[in-house]
Symmetry: C2
Amino acid sequence: MPGRLQNELKKRKPFVHIEQEVVLNLFRTGDRLGIRLERLLREHGLTGAQYNVLRILRGEGQPLPMQEIASRTIQVVPGMTGLVDRLEKAGLVCRARSESDRRVIYVRITAAGLTLIAQLDEPLPAMERKLLGGLTRDEKAELIRLLEKVRDHLEQLDE
Amino acid sequence: MPGRLQNELKKRKPFVHIEQEVVLNLFRTGDRLGIRLERLLREHGLTGAQYNVLRILRGEGQPLPMQEIASRTIQVVPGMTGLVDRLEKAGLVCRARSESDRRVIYVRITAAGLTLIAQLDEPLPAMERKLLGGLTRDEKAELIRLLEKVRDHLEQLDE
DNA sequence: GGAAAATACTTTACACATCAACTATTGTCA
DNA sequence: TGACAATAGTTGATGTGTAAAGTATTTTCC
């Protein structure tokens, strides 16, 4: 049983390390899913990163500092600056400097931002269900468990 | 059992859809792994995308058209142009136009390119083993199976 | 009280990734 | 044959992600 990715990539030799196969499968599958989800978001004028920021702000229900937003996404702080710049220019969020600590900048979602992401509350989960339709519910749960276990171990490596 | 990602993202409400949890876990885990692998590659002056191209060319053993390389990576053709530009400028690959079909451009890995990626043949798999040390061999195999199943279903959606 | 460290954010530079539009070449077929 | 479609690759615009350096503000602590 040589594995499917191997054939897909037209590699000649079998994978020497199963770990490499895991990593490549992880990247490739994430990419394939991401492309389709980004496409849906783009129809509403948003990128994936922008949608994530708006969703986090809506979920929190109150303004959040730049760094707090960055820590909840895949992102590093420097990238957040430009991201919020674009969202602010589009009128979806606004900045406000903190009174107590003038280094901190709070980001707040605007009414226009709330309206925009509300339009995705139906189609986005529907798309996710469709994309993951190949797995049973048990398989989805098992996939989540395995991925969390990988990240748990990665965090241990940091300590 | 509320799930770990949920806590990690400091979300208030439980995930409504398990599919969303799968997608977020997939992105986040791939990102965490990618950051560490990219860091190792960068020590050798390469990015992940560049390393992939070199590895594909070495594995094939002969020059490949741009499009063929792109089809074996996560990449779209337009991005491949700039990527090969940079590799060529670094002296790691070279271009050659096909004789039979003058639209096609073949990319060949140079001796310098082979030397460079040979330096990663040891440390890269070692790093991958270390990063995935949290999973048993059976769990790695199961993770691969589930990810391949997701992609199989995605391909069916295209037909 | 004041120098030094820490923190929050921005700026800059570079490398991807995506899409749309463009050029050059080849294939189709009426 | 000759218009037209298809294909291979490039270019340009926009957005994202990383690292390194810079600025402003606050905290620490002697």
